[in-house]
C-alpha cells in the first residue's frame, strides 16, 4: 500500500491545497471528463478543500451514462431470443431501458452472464456452440482495445457464434462538442486511463482551438490536486497547453500496440451521445472485414420504441450545465436502488457519486 499512500498523504495534500489557494485568483470551472475522476473527487471530499474560486464540473466520461437507451433496449431484445447468451460487465445489469432492464430480464429467465473480460465471453461461446453469445462492448479507448483483442481472438479461433454489440466511443469528439455547445469551462482534467492508450495526441488541437488546457490526470487525491494546480496556473498565466500529470502511467505517444489493434478492428461512425446528440465520427464499429462478428449486422431483432424518462436531466449533467442536485428527482424519486437514469446506476455516474458522497452539495 506504500505506493498508494504516497498519493494520499495528508501533508502533501495540504501543501498542494495551499499552493492552489495562493495561485488562484480568477473564478474558474474545471471539468473532470472521466467518471472515475468524479468518483475519486467526491469520495475523498476534494471540493471541500478547494478555494471558492475553483469549481469542478463532471463531464461526459461515464460510458454507461452517455450510451443511448436504444442500446440497452436492443441488448435486452437480444437477451429475449431463445438461443442468445448475453455477456456483459456488471454495471449494465441495473441500467434502465425503456420498459425493462437486465435485472428484470434475468428474473424472467434471460441468460445474462457477468464477465470480467471479453475472453470469458469467448470461452462461453466455445463451450456453448448451440448458442449465440453476444458481448456488450461499452466504453471509451480504455475498454475498446479489449473488445478488439476479443474479436481478433474469435477470428483466430474461427468462432461463428460470437458477436460484439458495440457501443464503444472515442473521447475527443465529445470534449470538443461540449465547447461548441457553449459550455463554459476553463480547462480539462483529462482522463487518465483513456490517455494511457491514446497518449496526448487526441487533445492537441484543444488549447489552440478553444484556449483550454488539458492535463492528463491520475486517480489519487494528490494526482487530482496536482492537476488542479497545473490547470489553475495555466489559466492564471493564460497559457493553455496539453500536459501529463499522470506520468507514471501515460506516455505522450500512448500505447502503440493497442492503437494499432483498434485501427485494425474498428472504423469510426457517427454516434449518439446522451446530452450531445449525434457526434460525427465518435463511435466505433467493426470494420467490414470483421462484420461477421457484428451483432447489429448478424442478429435480426425487433426493438421496442425508445422512451426516455421525463424529468431526468442526465444529458445536461453530462455536459456540465447542471449538477445532480439540480434534478428534481435526485435523491427523491431517483436513488441508486431505484434509478431513473443511467447516471444514478453506474459507479462512474455523476448522480451516483453525488448521491453517495455529496448528497446535500
Amino acid at each position: 500500500m506504500k505506493y498508494i499512500d504516497e498519493y494520499r498523504d495528508r501533508e502533501l495534500v495540504s501543501r498542494l491545497v495551499s499552493e492552489i489557494q495562493k495561485v488562484s485568483r480568477k473564478d474558474i470551472a474545471l471539468m473532470e471528463v472521466c467518471g472515475g475522476h468524479t468518483m475519486a473527487i467526491q469520495k475523498f471530499g476534494i471540493p471541500f478543500l478547494l478555494p471558492p474560486t475553483i469549481h469542478l464540473l463532471s463531464g461526459p466520461g461515464c460510458p454507461v451514462c452517455v450510451s443511448s437507451r436504444k442500446y440497452i433496449d436492443q441488448a435486452i431484445a437480444y437477451s429475449r431470443l431463445d438461443d442468445v447468451i448475453i455477456t456483459t460487465f456488471g454495471d449494465l445489469i441495473r441500467v434502465p431501458g425503456s420498459t425493462s432492464s437486465f435485472e428484470k430480464e434475468i428474473a424472467a429467465g434471460a441468460d445474462v452472464r457477468i464477465v470480467f473480460s471479453i475472453l470469458d465471453a469467448l470461452k462461453i461461446a466455445t463451450e456453448n456452440p448451440e448458442n449465440r453469445v453476444v458481448f456488450l462492448g461499452i466504453g471509451f479507448e480504455t475498454t475498446a482495445p479489449g473488445s478488439a483483442a476479443g474479436v481478433l481472438n474469435a477470428a483466430k479461433q474461427g468462432l461463428t457464434n460470437f458477436f460484439l454489440f458495440s457501443s464503444h466511443k472515442i473521447m475527443q469528439p465529445a470534449m470538443e462538442a461540449l465547447i461548441d455547445e457553449g459550455v463554459k469551462i476553463d480547462g480539462y482534467i483529462a482522463p487518465g486511463h483513456v490517455s494511457t492508450i491514446t497518449g496526448t495526441g487526441i487533445y492537441k488541437d484543444i488549447p489552440a482551438k478553444f484556449g483550454l488546457g488539458c492535463v492528463i490526470t491520475g486517480f489519487e487525491p494528490v494526482d487530482l490536486l496536482h492537476s488542479i494546480l497545473m490547470l489553475t496556473r495555466q489559466v492564471e498565466d493564460n497559457k493553455p497547453e496539453v500536459a501529463i500529470q499522470y506520468k507514471r502511467a501515460v506516455k505522450p505517444e500512448g500505447n502503440l500496440k493497442a492503437k494499432k489493434m483498434l485501427d485494425e478492428v474498428f472504423d469510426l461512425r457517427d454516434d449518439w451521445w446522451r446530452g450531445l446528440g449525434i457526434l460525427k465520427k465518435s463511435g466505433l464499429v467493426l470494420r467490414e472485414k470483421y462484420s461477421r462478428f457484428d451483432a447489429e449486422k448478424m442478429i435480426d431483432v425487433e426493438v421496442e420504441e425508445t422512451r426516455e424518462d421525463k424529468g431526468c436531466i442526465c444529458g445536461e449533467i453530462l455536459k456540465g450545465l447542471k449538477k445532480p442536485g439540480d434534478c428534481k428527482l435526485f435523491a427523491k424519486a431517483c436513488t441508486p436502488s431505484d434509478p431513473f437514469g443511467a447516471c444514478m446506476v453506474s459507479n462512474e455516474g455523476a448522480c451516483h457519486a453525488y448521491y453517495k458522497y455529496n448528497r446535500d452539495g
Binding site: F44, G45, F48, Y357
Partner: protein
C-alpha cells in the same frame, strides 16, 4: 469410509436420536439440554429480557478465523450484548444437505460449543432437518438468544440518551470478516493472510459497562459495516455525526484487498466489532477498560456527535476532505454471514 449425513438423520427416528445424543448433547452438554424436554425449561430472575434471532448461511463454511458455527454463536451473543443484555441461553437449528460430511459437521458443532463456553451461554434447545441433496447449500444454522436486561440499560438500543459531544468508539480494525470470507472463496484464487474478527463481545462490553454508566448507544457493525451503523444512528437520533477516517483502524492487508477489489472498508462486514457512543468525560476510562481486553486492544475514538448537519453522518477523509457517509446502495457481498 467418510461418514455422511443421511436423510434419515433428520427423520425424527433412530438416526436422529443418535445424532442428537452423540453429537449435540455430547458437545453442548448442560443440564437443561440433558433433560431433553420438548421445550427448554428456564427460570429467570427478572422481568426484562432481550430476545433475538439470526440465520447464518456464510459461504464458505470454514474461513480463516472461524466457521459458520462460531459465527452463529458470536452473531447472536453480540446482538444481545450490544443491547446491554447479559446473554444466557441460545437455541440452535440446523438445516443440513443430505450427504454433508459428518466430520465437518462435528467440527462446526465443536466450535459452537467452545464459543458458547467462552461467552458463558448455554445452548439449551435445538432442531435438525436434513434436506435432499441440492436443496440447500451444505448447512444453514439459525440461532436464537435470550438474555436478561437491567432496566437502566434500555436506552442503549434506543439511543435515547445520545447527546452532543458524545464520543464514538470502536474496539479495533474494520473490514476483517468480510474480506477474510471473500478471500476464502475459491473462485477468487486469492492468497491472503486476513483473519475474520468473529468473536463474542459480551465480556468486553461488560468491562465497559462496569466502568461507565454513560454508554449511550451500542451496535455491532456487521453487514453494511461501520458506515451503515453510523448513518442509522444519525437517522434515529436526528443528530449529526462526524468521524475521522484517519482514526479508523484498518489492517494493512484488508486495506490492500479492498483497494484491489474496489470495496470501501467502511462498508465491509465485521463480526467482532462494536460501535459505542460514550459521554465525553467517560471516554478515557472506557477506552482503558477495553484496551485491557484482547478483543479491544485496538480500541479508539473515531468521531463524535455534533450539532451540525442533523440526521447525517459526515466523514473527514484521509486527506482531510469532507463528505457525507451513506448507507450502502445496491451491491453488497452476499452470504457473508
Amino acid at each position: 469410509m467418510d461418514k455422511k449425513i443421511l436423510l434419515g438423520h433428520g427423520s425424527g427416528g433412530k438416526l436422529t436420536h443418535n445424532l442428537i445424543e452423540n453429537l449435540f448433547v455430547r458437545h453442548f452438554h448442560n443440564p437443561v439440554l440433558a433433560d431433553q424436554t420438548d421445550s427448554a425449561l428456564l427460570s429467570l430472575d427478572t422481568t426484562n429480557v432481550a430476545f433475538t434471532t439470526d440465520s447464518f448461511v456464510v459461504d464458505p463454511l470454514f474461513f480463516p478465523g472461524g466457521n459458520i458455527g462460531k459465527l452463529a454463536i458470536a452473531g447472536t451473543v453480540n446482538d444481545l450484548a450490544v443491547s446491554g443484555a447479559k446473554p444466557l441461553y441460545l437455541s440452535a437449528s440446523f438445516i443440513i444437505e443430505e450427504g454433508y460430511d459428518f466430520n465437518d459437521l462435528e467440527k462446526i458443532v465443536q466450535s459452537m460449543a467452545e464459543e458458547a463456553k467462552k461467552a458463558g451461554v448455554q445452548i439449551v434447545t435445538g432442531d435438525t432437518k436434513v434436506v435432499n441433496k441440492g436443496k440447500c447449500d451444505k448447512i444453514f444454522i439459525t440461532t436464537t438468544g435470550l438474555g436478561t436486561l437491567s432496566s437502566q440499560l434500555k436506552h442503549i438500543s434506543t439511543a435515547d440518551k445520545v447527546k452532543r459531544g458524545d464520543k464514538i468508539i470502536i474496539n479495533g480494525t474494520i473490514g476483517d470478516h468480510g474480506m477474510a470470507v471473500l478471500a476464502a472463496r475459491e473462485f477468487l484464487n486469492l492468497k491472503s493472510d486476513i483473519t475474520s474478527d468473529c468473536a463474542c463481545l459480551n465480556h468486553l462490553i461488560n468491562k465497559a459497562l462496569n466502568v461507565s454508566a454513560q454508554i449511550h448507544f451500542m451496535r455491532d457493525a456487521t453487514r453494511g459495516g461501520v458506515a451503515t451503523v453510523l448513518t442509522e444512528l444519525a437517522e434515529i437520533t436526528g443528530m449529526g455525526i462526524e468521524i475521522d477516517e484517519q482514526q479508523i483502524p484498518v489492517n494493512e492487508n484488508v486495506r490492500g484487498m479492498c483497494e484491489l477489489l474496489g470495496y470501501d472498508p467502511l462498508y465491509v462486514a465485521n463480526e467482532g466489532k462494536v460501535i459505542m457512543v460514550v459521554a465525553s468525560e467517560d471516554t478515557d476510562q472506557v477506552l482503558k477498560a477495553m484496551n485491557n481486553n484482547k478483543l479491544g486492544s485496538n480500541s479508539s475514538v473515531i468521531g463524535e456527535i455534533v450539532d451540525e448537519h442533523p440526521g447525517r453522518a459526515w466523514i473527514k477523509t484521509t486527506i482531510g476532505g469532507k463528505r457525507i457517509l451513506d448507507m450502502l446502495a445496491g451491491e453488497q457481498l452476499p452470504r457473508i454471514c
